[in-house]
Amino acid sequence: MGTFLSAAAAIVVGLAIAAILLVVLVFRSMWRIAEPNEALIISGRAHRPRGEGHGLGFKIATGGGTLVMPGISAVRRLSLDLRETDLEIDCVTHQGIALRVRGVVIYKVGDDLVSIANAARRFLDQQNQMDQRVHNLFAGHLRAIIGNMTVEEMIRDREKLTQLTREHAGTEMEKLGLIVDSLQIQEILDPTGYIKNLALPHQSAVEREARIARAQADREATEKEQEAEAQKALARRDSQIRQAGYQAEVDQAAAASRQAGPLSDATARQKVVVEETRIAELEAERTEKQLLVEVRKPADARAYEQVTLARASREAHIHEAEARAREIEVSAQADAARVKLAANAQAERVKLEGEAEAHAAQARGLADGEAIRARGTAEADTIKARAEALAGHQEAIIGQQLAENWPQIVEAAAKPFGSIDRLIVLNGVEGISEALTQALGQGVAGLQAARRVLGDPGVAQAAPAASANGSAVKEGEPV
């Protein structure tokens, strides 16, 4: 009985425990917890909240647990986590500069019920596509935002970027129940080099400053280095000069010590030479004196003797000459007087003779003139007669003239032989006769030429005069 009771009690307890477990399990299956980063969207049961949630048609649970009746209500979770979408677009700035912009937009589902409801209605089944949607939406917005900005503003003016983001994208995102936490431009790719050029002036200035500073520093360093070098060189020079000085002293001392022996030798030798020189001088002196006594004195005496004699002789000659001159003078004067007288007498005589002769000549000249005139007349007649005769007997006259002059012609032909001292004829007697014949032949040839010349009428006129002085023969000579 007791065991039965205890058994019954055990069953009851077991059933109770089972019932409790069942209740817990059922409750667990019905109780849904919304994590801080999510919202539960509960639909199915008639749900009519007042006020803001009026007409919603479903229940939104955030930040707590709620009981859901399985089979009656459906529960879905909408993540309220932060989401991000990368954007990369080609766009154009306010100034028309083409850029490629990489950015990121960070957004989330709004925490208020309206935003959650908007988002739930749009994305509940497409939460994993939300990024893609937002990407498509924001590409356009970003392009518009950048179109309203300049490159400089994009780089520097964050305020304007957020402002424009809010204006362009904020309200539109509100429709989707999303809020834009942040839009960041991560990278601006600048194919035209605009940003680089923006940087250039400042960069160049900084570079210039850097180069100037470097150059200045370099210059100063070089100056100092060179100064140091110069000082080093100076020190080195001084050192070397001093070393050289010391070396010179050392060398000098060494040389002096080396020369000491030879020097003392030389000094000794010098003394010897001095003594020897003195001896030679004394000897020379002695010789000189000796010569003076032996040669010069006698020579002087002789010279004096000769000079004296010569002087006496000269005196004698002078006196003699003077006497002779005097004598000549006197005799010349006498001669002159005599000649003068003779000349006078002669002159007188000549004068008288001249006068007499003049008279005689005058008389003779008159007589001669008469005679010459008479002979001229006669000769003219003769020439006239001969000219007439010549016209007829020229040949005979020439022959006569030649006959008159024959001896002279032959003599002229023989002249070459006459100038020959000794004639050697190689072919004997015949040779002599041949030579003579040749010479005479030359004479005959001269005769022919003379004849030819005389045959000329112009020459024939002068022929008598020419024959008179033998010029005709001379003309034949060169033939």
Partner: protein, 73 residues
Amino acid sequence: MVRHMVEQEMIGRVGRVTGKVTPGHIGEVMIAVRGGSEAFHAYGSEPGQTIVNGTRVVVVEYFPPRTVVVSPV
């Protein structure tokens, strides 16, 4: 509902301007709400009003989900 009350309590909250409120542009204010702080789009309550960053403002009107009209404190 508690949450509904929170939405109503937006008006009168004090926040801080984080994006300059100028006419024709949307500003931004940070307001402590729901135990954290959230950024809301903001307009000035008076026309032609400019509210610079860091100014303390009070919410005078709320347009769900994320827009408020503010006035400098």
